[in-house]
């Protein structure tokens, strides 16, 4: 009797239920891992291309969630980091350097450097001013790219071939590139997960909830935020490296402010402060783009109002919506 009661109590407290925070990411990555064989079975090759795009943007979106969801830093210029990473690949390739062992570190380093320099200025401001100044720096780098006449300017820059790895054409096949991208996303996700759970992550969250208190306790909040900003920038650069290699083309459009807006949309749509949500949101956004645009040409006419409805009625995004539905059915 007491055993049964203890078991029931354990069930209620969640000890015996599979932990949802492991189930969801496990399911996400399992689906990504199994998708290529299924896609070739169904002869739907576009699914692999779509999923590659989803994973590339998910890398940037997870990094953005680190800032927005855990740091309370709404960066509206995140596409700049993606663009910098992509341009690093493009410009190096135009100079005849097309090995990932060089271009990947350069892509990440350039984005981190830009994040460091702009972060020092941006983090002096708060709230809506932070949104605006990150937006301004994003626009700045966008206009630099449009005036880079030797590297295509407005029209962008075509990359001759995907990067080699130590001289080997490992990324040439779409299937191989897919799994490399998956690996990058997994590494990004696990890294951010660990970061959020660490002491560093707790300081970051504390600074979001109450910066004055964290400063009083003795933390130099701004340097923690700057480190987070630089890390998110570097991951944006990684996303840009993948994007340039996947499309074999870079253009200023990669870093337009609409792109930054889309990245925020992905984070919010999936569910902010979850990291999982950023991946779900990237899949939902790009999936909606893919399928809605087949039904109507101007698919944003449908998607825009949907977004407004999500903000107004589905707090916590798709993940929040699902867990509320889950609870509702579970207790009905």
């Amino acid at each position: 009797m007491t055993g049964a009661a203890a078991l029931a109590a354990a069930g209620r407290s969640g000890l015996l239920r599979p932990r949802r925070d492991i189930v969801l990411p496990a399911a996400i990555f399992l689906i990504f891992a199994l998708l290529p064989p299924f896609a070739s079975l169904l002869a739907e090759q576009y699914l692999v291309d779509l999923a590659t795009r989803v994973m590339i943007f998910a890398v940037a979106a997870v990094a953005l969630d680190l800032l927005v969801g855990y740091g309370g830093l709404v960066s509206f210029g995140h596409a700049a980091f993606v663009g910098l990473g992509a341009y690093a690949v493009g410009i190096l390739s135009a100079q005849g350097i097309d090995d990932a062992l060089i271009s990947l570190p350069v892509a990440i380093a350039v984005a981190m450097l830009f994040a460091f320099v702009t972060g020092i200025v941006c983090l002096r401001t708060k709230g809506v001013y932070f949104i605006m100044i990150t937006l301004a720096f994003g626009q700045m780098i966008y206009f630099v790219a449009t005036s880079l006449a030797p590297y295509g300017g407005d029209n962008g820059l075509t990359i001759a071939a995907r990067n080699t790895v130590a001289g080997l054409a490992l990324l040439k096949s779409d299937r191989a590139f897919y799994y490399v991208t998956l690996l990058c996303l997994l590494a990004t996700y696990l890294f951010c997960r660990a970061l959020v759970a660490s002491r560093f992550g707790r300081v970051l969250r504390g600074a979001k909830e109450n910066p004055a208190r964290m400063v009083t306790i003795g933390f130099t909040v701004r340097s923690f935020q700057l480190v987070a900003y630089v890390i998110a920038g570097g991951l944006g650069g990684l996303s840009g490296f993948l994007l340039a290699n996947s499309t074999e083309f870079v253009s200023p459009a990669f870093m337009s402010w609409q792109r930054s807006g889309e990245l925020i949309v992905m984070v919010i749509l999936g569910g902010v402060s979850t990291l999982d949500g950023a991946i779900v949101g990237a899949a939902a956004y790009l999936g909606a783009e893919e399928w809605l645009s087949r039904i109507i040409e101007n698919w944003q006419v449908v998607f825009g109002p949907l977004l407004v409805l999500v903000v107004l009625f589905a707090r916590g995004g798709l993940i929040g919506l699902c867990s509320r539905l889950w609870r509702w059915f579970g207790h009905a």
Binding site: V121, A136, V265, I268, P305
Partner: protein, 307 residues
């Protein structure tokens, strides 16, 4: 010859400045009073231009189109406020950014679906089609001078409205402490609606006035929105005076930078590298200016009092 060219570019800068002011005024008022960041404000500028083109096709004269388009812009702004925005006033800025971004997506592509992606044009009213001769013999289009005049008149009127009338007093009080204004028995929701409608109309007015000299196309509000955001951030969010000063500053810096950057750089480097670097620096100029202003004064040049 450089003197008159300079004068022409100063006038162009002023024209961009007053245009930016018309948009930024509504944006900064809405933010100051309701703490609401409205990215869709640029789309309302676009709608003003489209409404003007549409009504011009119906009534056939500019003045009629202007009045009808203003009314339509106002009605549409109030409709959006009623349907969406008023539910967002007490949300955090992130929610506001996302929801208004959704509205931009909707409006940009709804316009594309209705009027097509091709640019439309609106003729300059006959009265103002010509050019005037400037001091150095250079010609300057009258319509641009009309825009400058209208913008300055609106700025003066707005200043009088905010400083000397009862509604202006309420707006200033609302910007300082909306809850206190509400506690003193003012219907704050109605005040919000009036301010919002007025801001929308100003953005629409800007769109209508500029329509004859640019091509009216989907997404035309997006870039001007970013410039207007830079203006209100430099000026200090919530401050009309700051918006006015910053709008003229941005208009002049941007225009003069674009016209003279190559010439100035040529003093320092070879002509070919000046031609390459010049445009890049010119388009970065206002963002660098914004970064410097925010670095030195994180709340802008004229921070609104009480916030």
């Amino acid at each position: 010859m450089t003197g008159t060219l300079f004068l022409v570019q100063v006038l162009n800068g002023l024209q961009l400045g007053v245009l930016l002011f018309l948009i930024a005024a509504g944006l900064t008022l809405v933010f100051g009073v309701m703490n609401f960041i409205n990215l869709a404000h640029g789309a309302q500028y676009m709608l003003g231009a489209y409404f003007a083109v549409a009504f011009y096709g119906v009534v056939g004269n500019f003045l009629g189109a202007l009045v009808l388009a203003l009314l339509a812009a106002l009605a549409f702004g109030l409709l959006l406020e009623f349907l969406v925005f008023r539910h967002l006033y007490d949300r955090d800025h992130l929610d506001q950014v996302i929801a208004t971004f959704g509205i931009i997506l909707f409006l940009d592509h709804a316009v594309r679906a209705i009027w097509g992606a091709a640019p439309l044009t609106l003729p300059i009213p006959d009265m103002f089609t010509g050019s005037v001769i400037l001091i150095g013999g250079q010609l300057y289009p009258v319509w641009r001078l009309v825009i400058i005049g209208c913008g300055l008149a609106v700025a003066a009127g707005l200043y009088g409205l905010v400083t000397y009338t009862r509604i202006g007093m309420l707006v200033r009080a609302g910007a300082t402490n909306a809850r206190m204004v509400s506690a003193l028995g003012i219907n704050i929701k109605r005040l919000f609606m009036i301010v919002f409608g007025f801001g929308t109309m100003l953005a629409g007015f800007a769109g209508i006035m500029i329509a004859p000299i640019i091509s009216v196309e989907p997404g035309m509000g997006d870039n001007i929105l970013i410039l207007a955001l830079v203006v209100i951030v430099i000026g200090g969010i919530g401050s009309i005076r700051g918006a006015f000063v910053a709008a003229l500053l941005i208009g002049l810096v941007d225009t003069l930078g674009r016209s003279f950057s190559i010439d100035i750089l040529r003093l320092m480097m070879g002509p070919s590298s000046a031609r390459m670097v010049g445009p890049a620096i010119a388009s970065m100029l206002i963002y660098v200016l914004m970064a410097i202003v925010l670095y030195l004064r994180p709340a802008g040049l004229f921070p609104a009092q009480g916030r």
